[in-house]
């Protein structure tokens, strides 16, 4: 994400993950870590995958639309995604 020039606060990530998990879009498993407490590894559920596909489609449509609209001027700053997906 950092590479994509997308600065996101870690603190915002955890509530999002929890909410997605509560919505049934994600599951997680515990993995022992040698540098700290055990870590949670999140995986998308089937429902999550389905939803992801939907989102991706909508996003593509939107991005295309924006792209077409901003093509001539081309002054739009680098894309600003607002979709926190792991």
């Amino acid at each position: 994400m950092k590479a994509a020039n997308l600065h996101i606060l870690e603190g915002t990530l955890y509530p999002l993950l929890t909410r997605l998990k509560n919505a049934g879009l994600l599951t997680y498993r515990w993995v022992e870590s040698n540098s700290g407490p055990p870590r949670k590894y999140f995986v998308m559920t089937d429902l999550g995958l389905e939803f992801y596909g939907e989102l991706e489609r909508t996003w593509k449509e939107l991005a295309d639309a924006v792209h077409t609209l901003t093509q001539p001027s081309a002054e739009q700053p680098s894309t600003e995604e607002n979709q926190p997906q792991p």
Partner: protein
């Protein structure tokens, strides 16, 4: 140089600087507040803590000996503070949950001026009783304390506050609201408190030196105590307390303090303490370039938010799971509410009890202090009397040490403590306190010894009965009077019941009692029994010998001495005189009111009831002054006619009443008859009127002629009735 503590953080022991720990704690607390209404709050915070723990681990692995402020601040900066991810949160929220949680964010973490107001709720998260006040405050976007104060004033002012509150409590729905005031709040400061930290909280709120509000609160109170003590010490008439606390201006402030105490919340957590000082919750974090960077991003993201919102709402409709979720949410909310109400009741009771007990405790402590001060002043006042109480060097020494150590030390100690607290000086060493305590204990011991020694001096008791010669009154009636004193010394130092007056070298006592007894023969007798205490019988007898008490007679009037004086050198040992008057049967006696006014009986009871159960004094009769009594075979009887006359006058009144009643009845009957008569006349007139028209005029004239004199007659009659009625009423009254 910083202190390092070990904490158990996410199952790992982490050495951390104390200040860094404080920062971390604040941070986690602020997160907890931010996610207060989030369903998976604990999980989120757990996750974040886990991440922080991981970062800590990395930092320690790198070779840091402990976690420093810098490390914590860096981590917090990368995690983001609540206010940093708030904007994004709002967006994501609407994206994900639909309208589910929207409401909570209407009153978001910080107040947005253009936020919709929403409805008026009772606040479930911040409440003293029902959350009415803080709900209103939330609605008006003001400090709940202000609203609470207004209500408290209404309660104390007119009492309407209670009803209004209860009404609102019933009407308004309850809802956990998130605080929406970002500015300073009024808290009580528990760190710097004398009583409850009200004054220091106020000083923090208004940014003034701490001693100013304290002085404002304390000064009238202190001056009230002082003035009341000086008022009461010389004219001691019992309870000085209500006057001090409730009567004066100081009392008003006392009540104000109590209200503020109840209304203003205590700044318990670190963030509340920061709020109290009006500083942002993240005091110790570095607000620098990183944050500004983020802010730029936030505003850009927010722009986006609007557009994304619309889309998101469309998607959210497609969620079948939303319904399920909502159902779940509802049940959990109901559970939560039920729990809260249960807790609320306890909270209310707890609060009321706390306030009550604190109030009582405060009053008791205050009363003790006042009593102590009063004793001190009284002690100083009594001190000139000490020569009449005390014997020898040791008793004098003990008296001094009692006065200075037992009474003086606490007063001085408390005063210094109060001044130090008001000025905010913290005492560094406890030795001063120990010294004071030690001195006070010494004072206590000397007071005990002194009391014991004095009690020893009062141990034995003796009395001496001497007949007083009187001539028999020619009228058969004896009048007892006490003359006006030639020399008047009014409380040069001190006035106490029984001690009439004192000068530096003599003490004048009027401890004289009068007993009326039936005489065995046919003449009046009088005798005076002098009694005194002493350390043993001989000293008690010696004390009696020093006493001079006599009478003088003028015809049938006997003048009793006003009292007896103790010369310097003689000690006060509960000396007293009982004048016994033997009244023969058939003779009368009158005791003037000067006797009761000028003689004063008191008794220092040493616990042994060996005195009053003695002799024939049990047969004595009670008497009132200025009443003539007659001795009969059956005992002493009032010889005045007062009682009888009262009866007679009552009878008279009754008779009058009866007469008035009769009059009234009679007049009523008369009136009835009169009325019937008139009615008949009227009917006659009517009949006549119904006759042919040509005669109408005449008859009409006649009718008016009949009616005209009738009117005044009836009014006079009525007046009569009224008069008699009034008379009757007066009689009854």
């Amino acid at each position: 140089m910083k202190k390092v503590i070990n904490i158990n953080f996410q199952g790992r022991v982490i050495p951390i600087e104390e200040t860094a720990y404080d920062i971390l704690k604040q941070y986690v607390e602020s997160l907890r507040r931010f996610f207060a209404n989030e369903e998976g709050r604990d999980e989120i915070i757990n996750d974040i803590e886990g991440r922080i723990a991981e970062l800590f681990g990395e930092s320690l692995k790198k070779g840091d000996t402990c976690i420093t402020d810098e490390t914590v601040n860096k981590i917090i900066a990368s995690m983001g503070r609540p206010e940093d991810f708030e904007g994004e949160e709002a967006n994501v929220k609407s994206q994900l949950g639909g309208e589910g949680n929207q409401q909570q964010y209407n009153s978001g973490y910080n107040a947005y001026a253009n936020d919709p107001r929403g409805r008026l709720y009772r606040n479930d998260t911040d409440k003293l009783l029902g959350g009415v006040c803080s709900g209103i405050a939330n609605y008006l976007r003001v400090d709940p304390t202000i609203v609470r104060l207004v209500f408290a004033l209404m309660v104390f002012g007119a009492g309407t506050g209670i009803f209004l509150y209860i009404l609102l409590w019933i009407i308004l729905p309850s809802k956990p609201l998130v605080t929406n005031i970002s500015s300073k709040r009024l808290y009580r400061n528990p760190d710097e408190k004398v009583i409850a930290g009200v004054a220091s909280g106020i000083s923090a709120y208004f940014d003034i030196a701490i001693w100013i509000p304290r002085l404002i609160f304390a000064l009238p109170l202190v001056s009230g105590i002082a003035s009341s003590i000086f008022r009461h010490s010389f004219w001691w008439d019992g309870d000085p307390f209500p006057g001090v606390v409730f009567g004066s201006f100081g009392g008003t402030l006392f009540v104000v303090y109590a209200i503020l105490w109840a209304v203003i919340p205590e700044a318990k957590s670190a963030s509340e303490k920061l709020e109290m000082r009006g500083e942002k919750v993240d005091l110790n974090t570095i607000k620098n370039t990183i944050q500004e960077d983020l802010e730029g991003f936030k505003s850009r993201a927010e722009k986006w938010g609007g557009e994304v919102n619309e889309k998101a709402q469309e998607w959210s409709k497609e969620f079948t799971s939303t319904v399920n979720e909502k159902g779940k949410q509802f049940t959990s909310e109901v559970n939560y509410a039920a729990r809260k109400t249960g807790g609320g009741v306890f909270k209310i009771f707890g609060f009321i009890f706390k306030a009550f007990f604190l109030f009582i405790a405060g009053i008791i402590a205050f009363a003790l202090l006042v009593a102590l001060l009063a004793f001190l002043v009284a002690g100083i006042g009594v001190f000139p009397l000490k020569n009449f109480f005390l014997e020898g060097f040791w008793q004098n020494f003990l008296a001094w040490s009692t006065l200075l150590l037992f009474l003086g030390v606490p007063v001085i100690g408390f005063t210094t403590w109060l001044i130090r607290r008001i000025m905010g000086v913290k005492s560094g060493n406890k030795s001063v306190g120990f010294t004071f305590a030690g001195m006070w204990v010494l004072g206590l011991i000397s007071a005990g010894i002194l009391a014991f020694m004095i009690a020893e001096n009062f141990d034995a008791r003796a009395r001496d009965k001497q007949p007083l010669t009187i001539t028999q009154p020619a009228t058969g009636k004896l009048i007892i009077k006490v003359p006006d004193s030639k020399v008047k010394v009014y409380g040069r130092w001190f006035k106490m019941d029984g001690l009439l007056s004192m000068t530096d070298d003599s003490l004048f006592l009027n401890n004289v009692r009068i007993h009326l007894v039936k005489s065995n023969d046919s003449i009046f007798h009088m005798d005076a029994t002098k009694y005194s205490n002493g350390s043993d019988e001989s000293s008690a007898l010696r004390n009696i010998k020093e006493m001079n008490y006599g009478i003088s007679q003028q015809d049938s009037t006997v003048w009793l001495d006003r009292g007896f004086s103790l010369q310097r050198g003689t000690k006060f040992r509960n000396q007293g005189v009982v004048v016994t008057i033997y009244i023969p049967i058939g003779k009368r006696i009158l005791i003037d009111r000067t006797v009761q006014r000028r003689l004063n009986h008191f008794d220092v009871n040493n616990g042994r009831n060996d005195w009053d159960s003695d002799e024939d004094w049990n047969d004595n009769y009670g008497w009132d002054s200025d009443v003539e009594y007659k001795m009969t075979a059956g005992g002493l009887e009032r010889s005045d006619k007062k009682v009888k006359t009262v009866d007679e006058s009552q009878n008279d009144e009754n008779k009058e009443n009866q007469e008035a009643l009769d009059n009234y009845k009679k007049s009523k009957e008369d009136l009835k008859k009169e009325f019937e008569k008139k009615q008949k006349e009227v009917e006659d007139l009517k009949k006549e009127l119904e006759k042919p028209i040509d005669s109408t005029q005449y008859h009409y004239k006649k009718a008016t002629a009949v009616n005209a004199p009738m009117a005044p007659e009836t009014t006079t009659q009525l007046e009569d009735i009224l008069d008699s009625h009034m008379l009757l009423m007066q009689m009854i009254l």
